[in-house]
Each structure stands twice: as C-alpha cells, then as structure tokens.
Symmetry: C2
Subunit: 551 residues, 2 copies
C-alpha cells in the first residue's frame, strides 16, 4: 500500500524515556530515535530498561535507517542493543549527536555495525527508499537537536524531537520557526510532538536565564564553586565556564561522562574553553578555593557520581567546606528526589551553601510549555496530531491543546507504545497493535529478567526469606533429621524459630501418617503451615522455601 | 541544677518526620510531640518509623507530660508506642488534637494510659513541676495548632510547632502575632522554630487561595468532581464542602481516615456540613455525576487509598469517566512523586481532567517561608535560636535567617537528633549526646528489624537468592546426592544451572580430597566458588545460601 505510512511507537508514550518510533511504508522501514530508560524502584536490581523491539526482530529484513533527533540517552541509549540484534543500514544524526554516538558504539565494539551518516539541517533532503527526510533545527538542552520531516506518498509528517522555543539560545541556533512556518504553508498531514511540559502553562524560560543566575552568584563567592548538571548539557557547562573565566577562576571537569562529553563537544567546536583555564582534578590541590570552579556530574544524586562522592567526603580530588557554594543546575527526574535531597543535606552539613532549582533560578527545562506547543501548532497547522514523548497525562494535555488549536478530535491520536497508527490520504487512525513492552538489562543479561523474577525480588525485599530444610529417607519417607531453618532478611521473636521447627515436624508427621509422601505435596503443606504460623505471630509474609532432601 | 534546662531532640532534626523533643529540669521532664515517620524505599518491608526513645526508657521515672502541638501523624503518631512503654502522667493537647488522639488511643486500647488534658491558648498558664506552660495559637494545615511556651528557671523557651502566618485562615484563628510580640517584649531566651520552608523565599499563600481555586473550578464543571487531600486537612475539606453547597452538589466522604477525621471535626464543631448535603458512598449510584462532589484520601498515591483504587477502577462506590474532574489538593511528600504521577496518569486515561499543584493553585503549604520566619524572629527577638523540624539544609537556611536577624552565631544551635542542648543563664550550647536512632515497626514487631535484616533484604531485592543444597554422609563426608539448586528472583542463562551444579560438585570433591569436612568451611568454599561463577557469567550477585545436610 504505497499510499499509507504506518507509524509504530515502541517506546516513549505513556512514559518519559526510551523513545523509539518505527515508520513503515510497505516493507521498508526507518526508526526515529532508539533510547533507553532508567529503572524505577520496583525494577529491583535492574540496570537499564530498553524498549522491546521484538516487532522489528520478527519483521526481519533490513532497517533502512535509524534517525536520531539528538544525543540524550533516552533517544540514543538503546542504539548499541539495536545494532547488535538488527540489520541496520545507516544511522543518521547531526554532528554532535554523531560524535556522542560514535564514542558509545566504540565502547560496545559496534563502530562498523552500520554506516554513520551526518544529517544537516541546512542541507538537501535525503531520500531513503520511500522516505524523503529533512531536518529542522530545534533548541533543546543539548546542542544540535533537530525535528525530522518525513515525506512519503501518504503525506508529510513532522516529528519534533525534543524542543523548546528558545529565542536566545547560547549557540544562537534557535528553533527554526521560519522553516516550521514554511512547512505549515506546504502542508503538514501529521505532527508527532514532544508533550513533556504540555500540562504547564506559559513559556519555558531561555537557557540564558541560567547564565544570568550564574553571573549573579559566582563572582561574589569566596570559596569553591561547584556546578553540577547533566553531562550532556553542553550549553550549561559553557555558561558556567564563561562566568568562571570572567571571574578569574580555573575550571576543572570532574566525572567520567562529563569529561568525555566535554572532550567531544570541544573537539567538534560545540564548547569553548581556553586551554589555560582548564585544570585536571589532581591539580586542584595547588589552587586556593576561590580560584576554582568545578563542573561535575551527579545532579540526580546517582550513588557513584562525582557530586555524591563529594557530598559524602569520598572524592579523591574534591572536598567541600564552609564558604563553598554548590549549584545543582538540574531538576530531579521524578523518583530521584530523595537522593538529591540527601546530597544537598550532606553538602549543607559540610558548611557549603547549596543552591538548587527549588530556591534559585539555576535551572530551566529543555521542553516547551503549553504556549510554545500552541505556537508550533499555529506554525505547522497540522491536519492531524499524535502527541508523543510523555506520560499519559502529558499526552492528554497536548491533545487538548491541539483541539483548542482547531484540530478535529477525530484527527488527534492518543496512541500507546505498540499502537499501529496508519496515515493515509483518508487521515490517521489506529489500525492494530503489536507487542511493545520493556526489556531489562541486568548485569550482562539483556531481556532475561522477567516479571516473575521481579515479583520474587519484591517479595524477598519486603520480608526476606525463610528456608525450611527437612531430610526424608526415600525408602519409607521417615524423617531422618530435625528440620533446619535459615532466615535472611526476616526477623521475628526468638521463640518463633523453635515454634516453626515444631510446626514443621508436626506437619511432616501428619502427612506421613496420611501416607502423603509426594515431595510437591509435602512442600506445599510445609509452606502453608509455616507461612501461616509466621503470619499469625508477626504479620509478616517472608518467602517460605521448603526444601526436602530425599536420601 | 535548677538554673538549667536540657533540651534533647529525639526526632525531627535532619529529617521531616517523627518529631519529638524532651525538656528536662533536674529529674523532671516533659516531651513536646511524639510523632512517627513513614518508611523510605530503602526501609524495605517496614511499615512505620518511630523515634528511638530509649533515652527516656533508660532514665526511667515518670514523664510529667507529653505536650502535643497539633494532630498530624508526624507529631502524634508515636504516642501509643510511647504510652505503652513509658510511665506518662498527662497528655496535653488542644481540643481537636485531643479528639484525634483519643480515637487513636482507643484503637490501641490505651485510653486510660495517661490523663488526657485539654490545653487552651486562651487559658491560664499551667504549672507542671518546674515547667510553666502557655499555648499560643498558630495557623497551620490542621486546625487548633499551637506553639508552646516553656518557662523554667533557665529562661523562657518558645517552641513554634508547625505554622505559617496566615492572615486570613478559614476559621479566623490567625497565628497570634500579638501574643508573640508580647512574648518578645517579655523576653525570649530560646526559640525552637519550624524550618520546613526556611529555604523558600517569600510568603506561603493563605489557605484561602485554595478556596478561590475551588470556586473557579468546581461550579463550571459538568461531571463528577473529586477532591483528594490529606485526611487531617479540615479546612481544605471545609472549603470544598462550601463550594459544593454553593454549586448545589451533594458531598460524599470516601476513605476510612477521612471519614473518621471528618466525624471528629464535625462533632467538635471544627467542620460544618449541612446534614442534607452529605451522602454515603453507597448512595452515589442514585445521583448524576454533576450532582456530587467526592472528598477522598489518597493524595499521596498510597497503594490502598481511595484515590488509587478509583484510579485503577477498583473502588466499590466511585468510578471516573470522561467529563469528570479530579483535584489533587496536596503536594507529594518527597519520595511519593512516582506513585502520585501513576495515579494521575490512570485518571487521565479514564478521561478525567486532573488538576494538581504543579499546574493549578489547588494546594498551599502549611509551613512558613523565609519572610515569615523573619517576621517571627522580629516579633520574638530571641536571644538564641535552635532550628527544628527539617532536613539539615532547612535547619541551615533557618540558622542563616537567624544570623541575618541579628542573633549571634554563637547563640544559634544546629543540633541533631540526640544532641543534648543546655539552656542556662549563660546561654545555650550542646553539652552531650544520647542515642537517638530509629525504631522500625514491621507487622506486629516494634524495633526488631535491624540493619542486618534490611541489608539482607536490599541484597535479596537486587539479584534474588540462590540456594545450593548438598547432602553428605556424616560418617565419611561422601556426597550422597547431586547438589540441588533453587533460585528465586535470580535469572541467568539456562546452561548456568548445570554449570553451577558441576562447580558445586567440583568444589565439594576438592574439599573432601583435602580432608576439609567442617560444615562451615564447606559452606564458605561453596559460597565463594558458586558466587564467582555466577558473577563471571552474569555480572549479578545473588545471595548464595549453601545448605549442607548431613545424614
């Protein structure tokens, strides 16, 4: 069906994270973004969360291209896992995104897994089979972000990627409202738009506001100044560096990912730091506190990050003392609040003044608020809208904005991960759904941790485990030794252990009297009786594991 | 030492929660507040967290009085546990607080454990041994909150309790700035002040602001309106009821704690709901959606609360559909963000519009911001200040405000839980520390869950447990059966189980060859070898439990 394009989000809808969307015309397909998510507390022991791209695996064949909108982990972090499993011809990304992605693929030994191509917002459209692609500059919290325009026989689709309308971005590269207006005039059949801040009224302030705050704060401080932000926020780092230079401070970049990103950004010309301003962390000892500004990772309170180690007095190169100032130039991602608060409290205990986004204008969002979304809707005047990139409440708020902008309700698609959305000359609608869950990365294993393991971990985490070991003679089923009990993560009154042992003996005796000797049945009886006893005495439900050894 | 008073915070410093402070003159003591805290994620399986009042237990003797500033759980929730273990003569609290506390003590069968006395902000001072107490009305997010003035031979202490300076509170009972000014004129030697919002600039808006928002929102809605707030926020409920009455809606109160609190508040005259306005949840079916306003619990996304059950379509009496409006009239306590977001997303999926504090003025804090703290410092002009009620960053911000108000640094005490602070005519200083940790309530057990159990639960929660069972002949140590493996919460490649079994056999064989037959040693070897193999293959570290059965 040449006249239709199928759009299949595999991640990023109903959540903030692991963005990935498939575009298909006939048997040809491209993928926009390949991101990961970070585990939630209930994902006990999981390291990373990937979109389940089983759909692509099952379809087989070649993926024409993976097209990346920008270099954030929730848009590129799944790329190595995708390239390892699928036959992908090309990866398209802007220059900085490509630089970041190359370093990542290099670490995974996957530099040759696909052809890496540079997308250019100022260049000519590119044709990939039935897909004609253009890129439009968008301002975001990482440089070189783009929207992707996808033209097929079914019509023109604009995928905004992540953006805000910043009229005064640090690199001067604004969201290209002119190009967007032009696209609107040419006609947009479907808009896939970033919904992160759709609920929030007004406009997101310009990144420059944070620079103003830095200029207010940093020059008047006497001690060390530490600025913590996301390692990918190149403009944030640049603004801190600029103020440091003006204030006559040296700059040290601390934390592996920030050093790596700063190197890539400097090499590619996205960040300017005079060579004589930079000092290595080991050289900090030679400088007085008021002579340095430290840029570091850890703005989310991540356990092993630079800022957390500094806060806990455990960093090899950086200490904090009375008179120092710490600026946490980021907002906690939901779920990280307590960790960030812990870091702030520790730093405050060391005597530092800690400025964070709740009490000072030291952070702005990278995502457009509702008035900006309205602006984009006015510029593009799309025939149909499919909100993407956000929890359901955000998608719903974006849908409401589209309705208010005059898009008919029947042309607004509230899709989920796995929805198959069809764009045709008749319009847009959900026609099918495919499997689109999550894949957990845990240690070296990708996808082998399943719900049952997580359920067990949850159970274990709540009340621990009780193992009841009994030995039976396989000949006649007589018990050969008194039951043994092992408890981990479970506590109860001292006399309970003896009670449980007696209960186990009683249950076994009863079973044997009734000629119940099947191991499974014996285990079940033991499990139920001991579990009930424990619950009655403690109101706790540890996992009970009856082990019956037949000799 | 008649001229000194010792102040010992046992909870509430370096945290928000479980407030409890001991005041001692010689061998006489009173306790201000007896609160609890809710467990954090790392307190796996714990139900409640209490202050460790081992200090009071060890001192023995009678506690003259527990004095409660207001009825919030973080100020009164520990009272039953305290009364069960200590000899307390009297509990003093204002009328509503007493009503709430009575109901709680009744549930615990402790109504007769101490004499319950009503404190009256308009009454005469009361003398309890060396302590002369007065109460001052303070506005807060629950009615009948008071500050406590404690006079001893050592001087006059003001403990603010929780407060904001609301000039237009719903009950007309403002923070009594006149009395505070009068105390300032008489002379205040030490201020213990609420620090919760000390970091935040400006003033906390009046509770009335929320009523305005309700009046803007509720009358123009067509469907059901559901307002979720803390069950103790009587004024919030009152404002919602008032708007419902104006809009001609019936009111139904859903959720056990909210029904209980509303009953107590109505019986004591703190809440007015016309009898014909109230409908029971089971009667909701007889009314059209636009005829009802539902007040419910669950503003923190608590798993079994009314709002969560409504959001998941699991409530027996309340459903939500397109056209309904849900107002979450509370702010997530740090750590509860994701749960609240989940509830919002679920409700949005049902088609409801969800208004919450991030996007609409449907909540105000109950705590004073920095300009209000400055006002209190100006009114009281305390000689010394001890910030209380807050994480360290909040206490530090409060200390900074005190310095800026002219209190000398040497008279500002940044104490911790367990600090022994001495007030004497010479001033105030930390002279000692006592044990002051946490006591966990888990099921029926109080205080029996220790760090080692939590560490085990943490370990189990991350990678699960692997149990390796081997059977040895006790006569000669020969292994009688192939090792058996049980895994829970752990997953690895299929072939790993066989590998582990072989490794266990190999290790046992080696040990027996080397004449190692001591069970402990065999277990250690098994543990290390299997653990290493699992880590090498999976990069996971499940808890390995070797079980050796001697027959």
């Amino acid at each position: 069906m040449e006249g239709t394009c199928r759009i299949i989000p595999l991640g990023g809808l109903g959540e903030v994270g692991k963005n990935m969307t498939v575009f298909e015309v006939g048997d040809e397909r491209i993928v926009v973004d390949a991101g990961l998510a970070f585990p939630r507390d209930e994902h006990l022991g999981v390291d990373l969360v990937l979109p389940d791209f089983g759909y692509l695996r099952e379809r087989g064949g070649k993926v024409r291209a993976v097209v990346l909108t920008h270099g954030h982990e929730d848009h590129v972090g799944c790329l190595p896992y995708l390239l390892r499993e699928l036959d992908v011809a090309e990866v398209w990304a802007t220059r900085l995104t490509l630089g970041l992605v190359k370093s990542k693929l290099d670490e995974h030994g996957l530099l040759r897994a696909a052809e890496l191509r540079e997308s250019d917002p100022d260049g000519e459209p590119i044709q990939l089979g039935p897909f004609r692609l253009e890129f439009v500059r968008m301002a975001h919290s990482i440089p070189d972000s783009v929207a992707v325009v996808i033209e097929t026989a079914a019509g023109r689709i604009v995928h905004t990627g992540d953006y805000k309308i910043d009229h005064t971005p640090i690199d001067g590269l604004k969201t290209d409202v002119g190009r967007l207006a032009d696209l609107g005039n040419r006609g947009v059949d479907l808009l896939l738009g970033d919904s992160t801040n759709a609920e929030r009224p007004g406009f997101t302030p310009s990144e420059r506001v944070v620079g103003e705050a830095f200029r207010q704060i940093i020059p008047q401080r006497g001690g060390r100044v530490i600025v913590s932000s996301f390692a990918s926020n190149v403009h944030r780092m640049q603004q801190a560096v600029d103020v440091a230079v003006q204030a006559g401070r040296k700059v040290s970049i601390v934390g592996r990912s920030m050093r790596k990103n700063a190197n890539i950004a400097r090499n590619l010309g996205y960040m300017e730091v005079p060579e004589d301003v930079l000092v290595r962390p080991v050289e900090l000892d030679d400088l007085k506190p008021h002579e340095v500004l430290i840029l570091c990772t850890g703005s989310q309170g991540e356990p092993l990050s630079a800022l957390t180690r500094i806060a806990y007095g455990d960093h090899p190169a950086v200490t904090v003392e009375r008179g120092d100032t710490v600026i946490i130039s980021a907002k906690p991602v939901p779920g990280n609040e307590l960790r960030v608060h812990d870091a702030i409290n520790r730093l405050a205990k060391s005597g530092a003044e800690v400025l964070h986004q709740e009490i000072a204008p030291v952070h702005v969002s990278g995502h457009a608020c509702s008035e900006e979304l309205r602006t984009i809707l006015s510029l593009l005047r799309p025939k149909a809208v499919m909100p993407v990139h956000g929890e359901f409440r955000m998608l719903a708020a974006h849908a409401q904005l589209a309705r208010e902008a005059g898009v008919p309700s029947s042309s607004i698609v509230l899709a989920e991960n796995g929805s198959v959305v069809e764009l045709s000359p008749e319009g847009v609608r959900i026609v099918d759904r495919v499997e689109a869950g999550v894949t957990f990365v845990d240690g070296l294993g990708v996808g082998d941790v399943q719900d049952v393991a997580l359920r067990d971990r949850r159970r274990l985490s709540e009340d621990g485990v009780l193992i009841v070991i009994t030995t039976l003679a396989s000949s006649n089923g007589a018990d050969l030794a008194p039951p043994e009990l092992i408890a981990r993560g479970f506590t109860g009154p001292d006399e309970l252990l003896a009670e449980m042992r007696e209960e186990a003996i009683r249950v076994l005796g009863e079973c044997l009297e009734d000629d119940v000797t099947e191991i499974k049945l014996l285990q079940e009886h033991l499990h139920d009786a001991v579990g009930q006893l424990v619950y009655d005495r403690t109101r706790r439900r540890p996992m009970i594991l009856p082990v019956i050894v037949e000799v």
